[in-house]
Amino acid sequence: MNLLLILLSVVLVNNFVLSRFLGICPFLGVSKKVETAVGMSIAVTFVMALASVFSWLVQEFVLVPLKIEFMQTIAFILVIAALVQFVEMVIKKTSPTLYQALGVYLPLITTNCAVLGVAILNIQNNFNLIETLVNGIGGGLSFTLAIVLFAGVRERLETAPIPKALEGFPIAMIAASLFAIAFLGFTGLGQ
């Protein structure tokens, strides 16, 4: 039950992109088409889940025993960077088409604050390993929800009559803020 609660809260109530404002860069950068958005969100979910688990393990078995918790940020970045490199190599080998579509964005995921954010939040909330994994996957799912919905809206905006000054990026920002306001409606759902 607790796990379901965690999942629900991270996907809807505390949505990483729309409530916590983490991971805005790929959110705005990759959301022009629904297909690329879906691809990107799969990559992000995968990275987030693995990053949560590995950073939790590093925290539990290296940082805490040696009493060097202050090294958390650097250690996590190290883990995430290595992980993304690994994921990039795997994708390059197994799916060249996906690599062509997403190859540019993978390094972007490394510096994505959402990935570091989920790792640190796991520690802050004192989750155990399973809870960490669920939170990681949930974070990825929340990103997926936000970016896929947003991509759908943006695709529609391409053919809508928009004032010339607002075309492209400005209207995307306005749409994103409206999304964020809408998701406020989910507060209090956890109760």
Partner: protein
Amino acid sequence: MNINTILWSVVSLGGLAVLFGIILTYASKKFAVEVNPKTAEVRDALPSANCGGCGFAGCDAFADAVVNGNAPITGCPVGGAALAAKLAEIMGVAAGDSEKHVARVICCGDSNNAKEKYEYQGITDCKAAEALAGGSKSCRYGCTGLGTCVKACPFDAIHVVNGVAVVDEDKCTACKKCIAVCPKNIIELVPISKEVRVLCKNQEKGKEVMQSCKVGCIACQKCVKACKFDAIIFENNLARIDYSKCVNCMMCAEACPTKTIYANFKNRKKAFIHDDKCIGCTICSKNCNFEAIEGELKGKHKILEDKCVGCSKCYEKCPKDAVEMR
């Protein structure tokens, strides 16, 4: 500050880093993807300007396209013929021939020759000025001189001098970016060897043109009459040079009363007949439109330098290759 803390931090993080390094190295070997070495070679040969002049998204994309056969090796305007030859070597095919082109601004109405209709205080952008009744220049076909093309050029090859944009032909790579942004459409791509150009796009005639600009084309047609090679097209009250026929003799530039036609007379070639090769066949003097060759049958021929205009007709016609253009 406990020395142990520092020690453990360094050791553990260093240890983690080494561990990840080993895993990644192993993974890179295991998950190695075969890259076509030709693509890397082609990519290295490219100028890396990423200007998009080839029509692809940057030099990487063009290199891929060349190797896959989706792009011609002459596709890069920046590298030109030299690059095409190199790519031909790498790809193992014969290169086509393409002469270097440059952009030219078809307007000579600078601040000495043309006036301003009104004082323009808007954004320093030609497209913005064009929206205001065609710009502040007295001639509505002319260059507004506000430099939108200068900003567009990635090679610093175009500058505004005295109110008109001028292309530096040494730096121009014919990437066509300036042509795309000019709202007056007065930049054209011309082969660099063609020296003569009509620097005006004005479609009015006579007095109206003179009122707008001192060096505009007044449609007097003196150039059309002066050209012995039928290389001037006259339409819409404007003279235009047909570069497939023009031989750089510069007679039109001499004839133009308003000095609209520009030709660098220093670059005018003069013919020279090599005595040792001339056999006195008189083919050259018969073909010369300017009576600039004298000589008798079977005798050595000579060029009259003050009459020669460098049209290269004799050079083309001589069966013994005795004529040199210099």
